[in-house]
């Protein structure tokens, strides 16, 4: 008996609709967030993450309503990220029914924001999302840097040092995305995942690159992630969450499995 590793389907939401970017360029529509969330709950998802990619700040209010609607009928943990810049944004999401908020770009520009937010609402509600890209060349010691703006802008920040700093500032969890792998379906950057997971005391969610069920298991076994996040393999019904869990359990990973799920 012990803590189960988590599977977290991620819904990218643009103006209230679920979409999934392939390397943030080619975007397809995969449906209504409430419907999708309910289906994932029925399949046994351990949590659901919404990333709001709405460009216009005028339309940001849409995600608040999405979270409210989902929280009214889906009783598993919900995380919301994207455009979270102030403590008011954090509170608004939590009040709408989110359990955690993911802070990404705002943390890079103002690390104190993470400290302030975790002081106000507690570390358990604060996820820091880290988008990292490998910057070391062939034969060099592995090194990753933090990128912003969907992986386009380098910041010069070392990913491991940054993750440690964010935890010291009050992050209760790290959502780690490999920008090299995102959308590629060739698997997580396992060396990156392991380096971050070993460096920090809080749970790490691996993200970016899942193409099959072994990738999920590898993220936990080799990457030492506490949770794995994926979008397209679930959105397009290539696999159900339950299939993914059974596969991971088959590789010896503790999972939350119930015959209630489909």
């Amino acid at each position: 008996m012990s803590l189960a590793k988590r599977i977290i389907p991620c819904l990218d939401v643009d103006n209230g609709r679920v979409v999934k970017g392939v390397q943030f360029v080619d975007i397809r529509d995969a449906g209504n967030p409430v419907e999708v969330a309910r289906r994932y709950d029925e399949e046994g998802a351990d949590e659901i993450t919404f990333l709001d990619i709405t460009a216009s700040s005028d339309d940001r209010e849409t995600i608040v309503h999405v979270v409210e609607e989902v929280a009214n009928e889906v009783f598993i943990p919900l995380t919301v990220g994207g455009g979270i810049r102030t403590v008011d944004d954090v509170r608004r999401m939590l009040n709408a029914g989110a359990d955690k908020v993911a802070i990404n770009t705002a943390a890079v520009f103002d690390p104190e924001f993470v400290r302030e937010a975790s002081d106000k609402v507690g570390s358990q509600c604060i996820v820091v999302a880290i988008d990292a890209k490998k910057v070391s060349g062939e034969g060099e010691l592995l090194r990753w840097e933090i990128f912003t703006h969907g992986g386009r802008k380098p910041t010069g920040l070392d990913a491991i040092a940054w993750a440690e700093k964010m935890v010291a500032f009050g992050a209760g969890e790290i959502l780690l995305t490999s920008m090299d792998r995102d959308g590629t379906k060739i698997g997580f950057d396992l060396a990156l995942t392991r380096a971050i997971s070993d460096a920090v005391s809080v749970p790490v969610i691996a993200s970016g690159g899942v193409g099959n069920l072994d990738h999920l298991a590898d993220g936990v076994i080799e990457g030492r992630a506490d949770a794995v996040l994926a979008a397209s393999i679930f959105h397009f019904a290539e696999y159900t969450i339950q299939e993914a869990k059974l596969h991971m359990a088959g590789r010896g990973i503790e999972m939350r499995i119930s015959d209630r799920y489909v």
Binding site: D99, V204, R256
Partner: protein, 216 residues
């Protein structure tokens, strides 16, 4: 005769999930209200006492709203469900925030997973304890009805209760150590996990609570 399930609002965190989950499972004739009124707590049929955040803030908020006495009184005379921090502050004392005096309904401490003394057992385990873990039943209890022994519930916490009286223990969970994840005595049932976020089994527990007559 009021038939309200009162979710105690003392300014610590979001109560929407708790109240929505309760609304999902209450019987006809039962009403869920979120309240910070001592009168409404006194008149309620049953009380849900949630909470998140730090122990010191929780106690300060409770005292500021003069709700600590109303909550303690409710804990002696009607079905009472504590959740997460709402379980921890029922103890005498918490180690959080360099030590906080709590409500002292039960003798015992709230302790940190990060305690030096546990470092060998907690090695390699992340803190907070976050995610779905199993709860072993340690008491037969009406609130366990239709919930299998060892079912998984959603946890997120860095501290755990350590009651002096082991007879309080109604459920235990393993995370490096075997800790007390549920306490129960008479009309009080309190859980470290979040039933409102624990899918089917969590809703079942809330439903059991809404039907419970407060007797063991």
């Amino acid at each position: 005769m009021s038939s309200t399930v009162v979710v105690v609002d003392y300014g610590m965190g979001n109560l929407r999930s708790v109240s929505k989950a309760l609304e999902h499972v209450v019987s006809d004739g039962q009403r869920v209200i979120v309240s910070s009124s001592a009168d409404e707590i006194a008149e309620a049929e049953r009380i849900v006492f949630p909470g998140q955040g730090a122990a010191r803030d929780c106690m300060e908020q409770l005292k500021q709203g003069q709700l600590d006495e109303a909550v303690l009184r409710a804990a002696t005379d009607k079905p009472f469900l504590g959740i997460c921090m709402g379980m921890q502050v029922l103890m005498a004392h918490s180690e959080e925030n360099q030590g906080v005096e709590c409500m002292d309904l039960y003798a015992g401490d709230v302790r940190a997973f990060a305690d030096e003394a546990l470092s060998s057992q907690m090695q390699g385990l992340k803190i907070p304890h976050m995610g779905w873990n199993q709860v072993a039943h340690r008491q037969a209890h009406p609130l366990w009805q239709d919930i299998s022994d060892g079912s998984r519930f959603y946890f997120v916490h860095s501290y755990y209760v350590d009651p002096d009286d082991t007879a309080l223990t109604a459920g235990t969970t393993e995370y490096g150590i075997d800790f007390v994840s549920v306490i129960a005595r008479e009309n009080v049932f309190a859980a470290q996990f979040h039933p409102e976020k624990s899918a089917h089994d969590g809703l079942q527990l809330l439903k059991n609570f809404c039907h419970w007559n407060g007797q063991v």
